[in-house]
Symmetry: C2
Subunit: 131 residues, 2 copies
DNA sequence: CGTTAATGATACTCAAATAGTATCATTAAT
DNA sequence: ATTAATGATACTATTTGAGTATCATTAACG
């Protein structure tokens, strides 16, 4: 059972790459080889990062992407929220779909706190750490 | 992104139920209502638990399942291994399919240790705790 | 004995989530 | 005008998860 999806995986690689280069603008074409993913797919991910405010983009010839934030402050936990809507340990623990069993469920609170710790650990890792 | 699958979820409920009752044998028909799952599906899960040594089974009329181990020593981490083959934080961290990037990957070791901690936390929760 | 109520094993189908592609629109440098 | 880039979005394919169905085996009950 996987916890981090491909979007996050590729996003990390791309952001690390940008943090190392620190060019004014890197186009997708200039990243896809090193990130090891197809152009269109990486583009889709970069667009998500743009919408979520992690990167700036410049359209048109000579354009591309650049980091919008200090890499030392881009945390894995944030990427996880933005790119895959967080983490849920089980179905039950989320939203309103409590499993019927029970008001007195002893499992749910434990899972909730584990989830919290997991996110803290992810928050402790920044793009800078990985660059 | 989910971490615990339905098998684990239902298995926990069934085991907790059995730990509370402590009958010599509980048939699937006697659990499915409270576990809130279809008979055939629960049966499949119980069979996995049997193969993995968590429960005993008795065939034939009057048969059913019973705990094979002290509920205070059946740990969530074990159920996770037996029923869903463990947890992997990302694709990369598993098996031989390292992502090419890199011998010098800074992310992988961190994820590995997070995974370890997660499993420790799951190991700290027993069926008895939940009963 | 035969019927019934149970599990064992396994194959199969259905549904949902992930992963990836394709297309058209927009923008700006040359 | 052409080219090289992103924005938005619809679409397809693959994989994984969830759930069913079937047949075989076993043992109590009458
Ligand atoms: S497992 Fe659903 S509320 Fe506890
Ligand atoms: S992300 Fe694949 S080896 Fe680090």
């Amino acid at each position: 059972m996987k916890v981090l999806n491909k979007d996050v995986d590729y996003a990390v690689r791309a952001l690390v790459l940008m943090a190392r280069n620190d060019k004014p603008a890197t186009p997708v074409a200039g990243m896809r080889a090193e990130v090891r993913v197809s152009g269109p797919f990486l583009r889709k991910i970069m667009q998500k990062l743009q919408r979520a405010g992690f990167v700036h983009s410049v359209k048109g010839r000579g354009g591309g992407f650049s980091l919008a934030r200090d890499p030392g402050n881009i945390r894995l936990s944030e990427l996880v929220s933005a790119l895959q809507g967080g983490i849920k340990l089980n179905d039950c623990a989320s939203e309103g779909k409590l499993c019927g069993l029970h008001s007195a469920c002893k499992l749910r609170p434990r899972l909730a706190s584990m989830e919290g710790r997991l996110l803290e650990e992810l928050a402790a890792i920044t793009v800078k750490d990985l660059a």
